[in-house]
């Protein structure tokens, strides 16, 4: 039997963006329900990481001007300075308000550090805040599809209670915020298992557009056979081939990642962290307590021994793609649907390069606030239509052909091959991308035609394949190299492609260049108390 409830604002996803959205919506006066696939506090990539928010003081004013100018240059034409200033200010004004729940530490000079938070404690603090505010948090309640009224406006969502026999829930809401994260295509990126692109597929089924889906070619280092994608120590790494010869790697950064990917195509790569300064070695367990777990449990001294490394894809998480926002309040093109965090496209705040931990964190916080507030305002509008909402989910839930069991093993193998291997996902070419497109289309058609029922993993597979198809189609259309998108058959940036690329269509995938926006718009900078 379906459990049905009603709320002003429904938030899908309980990572940092969803939690900040819940805070903002509650403070704006809405009743808020937050549904989370796992547990709000441990689920999503923030909880296992250590986000250092983009953090530039307002004074002197030149500091932010310079930071934004540097980001705009590095972003190769895709950034929007007004938006960058906006998220810098929202982050600066808002993050310290978490002090009652998060113990912001004193640095060696006695100053309070706000920007660099530790993931488990940050998410624990956000959970405590939203619990205290009276947000209704439903853990282990994955959403499977959005619901719409007959006029196409969003009416809520439907999903399952996975700790109650997968029985169905349905929640009707005045507005919905999608904060379901991005996806790393089931790679070993730490904490990313629940991030399967569900929010992209749900938005696209409702008619929203995506943007920047070609910018998925980010990879992060980890000890081989582990998912410990915490990179700080590797800024001092030395690399070797299997014969013990030191590799002449460029300094830490995207160029080094590409270098290591090339080296890994030829064989194992070993790493030593002996160059890490002694004072940092001694404090590593207090900077990132999860990093030593891997080494200590394997009996490796990373500061003396050489260990094998790997690279895990970050997909859209350290990448940039997502649902395109329209206007200034994180609304999508679909009435009643808002988007935050990695669920949203981020070229306007990051440019064509990775937002890394800092821009992406500032964006997750800021977009959560904006979406939460705007969703509250929307929920107060009287509804134009009546009747019962209808489910919008198709692939993985409702087959277009005859229902039959779906084997997910080949889907996972396809994603591994097409979205995680270097020759396809990092060193791109038209031929490789065309091959990916054919394979992904076939896998998509199998699920869309035949999968039936409320099976979470099948629905996740549909979302992963949808995301992969937009990524590959966009990478094919962008016949140049720009930022993290590298085409081996077009290695230079081209002026005519200095614009954003939209994509969409769950079944018939399309791409379209966005008309270059005039960047004269004034965005009001506002703070949240």
């Amino acid at each position: 039997m379906t459990a049905t409830a009603r709320t002003d604002v429904l938030i899908i996803g309980g990572g940092m963006a969803g939690a900040w959205a819940a805070i903002a919506a509650t403070q704006a006066g809405a009743s808020v329900t937050l549904v989370e696939k796992g547990y709000c506090g441990t689920s999503g990539v923030t909880a296992s990481a250590g986000p250092g928010h983009w953090w530039v003081p307002p004074d002197p004013a030149s500091a932010r001007q310079e930071a934004v100018a540097a980001r705009l240059r590095a972003g190769q034409g895709l950034g929007d300075g007004a938006w960058m200033h906006r998220i810098l200010d929202l982050t600066w004004c808002t993050l310290p308000t978490l002090a009652p729940e998060y113990r912001f530490p004193q640095t060696d000079d006695g100053a309070t550090n706000y920007r660099a938070v530790r993931g488990p404690e940050y998410m624990r603090a956000l959970r405590a805040r939203i619990d205290n505010l009276g947000v209704r948090v439903l853990d282990h309640h994955p959403a499977l599809e959005l619901l719409a009224w007959s006029d196409g406006s969003i009416a809520g969502a439907r999903g399952i209670r996975r700790q109650h026999g997968n029985s169905a829930w349905e929640i009707h809401a005045g507005a919905v915020v999608l904060a379901a994260g991005g996806t790393a295509f089931l790679s070993g990126l730490l904490g990313s298992r629940n991030n399967t692109g569900d929010g992209y597929l749900m938005a696209a089924e409702a008619g929203a557009e995506l943007s920047g889906m070609e910018f998925t070619a980010a990879f992060t280092i980890a000890p081989a056979r582990s998912n410990m994608t915490r990179t700080m120590s590797y800024s001092f790494a030395t690399y070797y081939d299997v014969d013990g010869r030191e590799l002449n790697a460029p300094p830490y950064g995207p160029a080094q990642t590409r270098f290591l990917a090339s080296a890994l195509q030829n064989g194992p790569v070993l790493c030593s962290l002996h160059r890490v300064p002694d004072d940092i070695k001694a404090r590593l367990h207090q900077i990132s307590p999860n990093v030593p777990l891997v080494f200590d449990r394997w009996g490796i001294d990373p500061f003396r021994d050489r260990f094998e490394i790997t690279l895990h894809t970050d997909g859209t998480i350290r990448g940039l793609g997502g649902v395109k926002t329209v206007g200034d309040d994180c609304e999508t093109a679909v009435p009643g649907l808002f988007v935050a965090g990695d669920n949203a496209a981020r070229e306007h705040v990051a440019g064509a390069i990775s937002g890394g931990g800092n821009v992406n964190s500032a964006w997750a916080l800021s977009s959560g606030l904006l979406a939460g507030r705007a969703a509250t305002a929307r929920s107060r509008r009287p509804r134009a239509t009546s009747g019962h909402p209808i489910g919008l989910g198709r692939a993985g839930l409702l087959p277009s052909g005859s229902a039959r069991p779906i084997d997910l093993e080949p889907v996972e193998a396809t994603l591994r091959r097409e979205m995680r291997e270097f020759d396809r996902a990092l060193f791109r070419s038209a031929a490789g991308l065309e091959a990916s497109r054919r394979t992904l289309d076939a896998a998509w058609q199998e699920i869309a035609a035949h999968a039936q029922g409320d099976n979470l993993k099948t629905r996740e597979a549909a979302a992963l394949l949808a995301t992969a198809r937009w990524s590959v189609a966009s990478a094919l259309t962008r016949r140049e190299s720009r930022g993290m998108h590298l085409r081996m058959d077009a290695t230079e940036a081209r002026d005519e492609f200095s614009k954003r690329l939209l994509s969409g269509g769950p079944d018939d995938v399309w791409t379209r260049w966005e008309n270059p926006v005039t960047r004269t718009r004034q965005v009001s900078v506002e703070a949240v108390s």
Binding site: P51, R193, P223, M232
Partner: protein
């Protein structure tokens, strides 16, 4: 991947059932929870962090389950290590959170790379405050 639930330590509080983001555990009316779906474990170590009884052990191998022996793991001293070093529960204050040092480390690395004459171990202050490290 989750490897051990030490039943003699477990208090059956079921916090792991509640907080595991991958829904790996099942509660049981009597006794400790069960590691019901180990293949779904994402090796995030959160269950260890939340387990005040230090009754759980996650092996770092994320691709496959590995067989570990409880006695050897306990002798290795890494059970409860994450919770201790994170300063959770009774360890609050014992190991202060120094996450803020991370940006300093990236800055020092960039400066060391730019100036090979400076030994990496030497303390370097100041530098480029706008450097953007790609850390999460």
């Amino acid at each position: 991947m989750i490897s051990l639930l030490l039943a003699d330590r477990c208090t059956a509080c079921n916090v792991c059932v509640r907080i595991c983001p991958a829904n790996v555990f099942d509660a049981h009316p009597q006794g400790p929870p069960e590691i019901a779906r180990p293949g779904d474990c994402q090796t995030c170590f959160h269950c260890e962090l939340y387990c005040e009884a230090d009754a759980l052990y996650v092996a770092p191998d994320c691709d496959q389950s590995v067989t570990v022996e409880a006695g050897a793991v306990l002798a290795g001293g890494t059970v409860g290590q994450y919770r201790r070093h994170s300063g959770w529960h009774e360890w609050e204050g014992a190991f202060p959170n120094e996450q803020w040092l991370m940006e300093t480390v990236f800055r020092r690395a960039a400066e060391a790379a730019a100036r090979p004459d400076v030994r990496p171990g030497s303390p370097i202050e100041g530098g480029d405050r706008t450097m953007r490290a790609q850390h999460l």
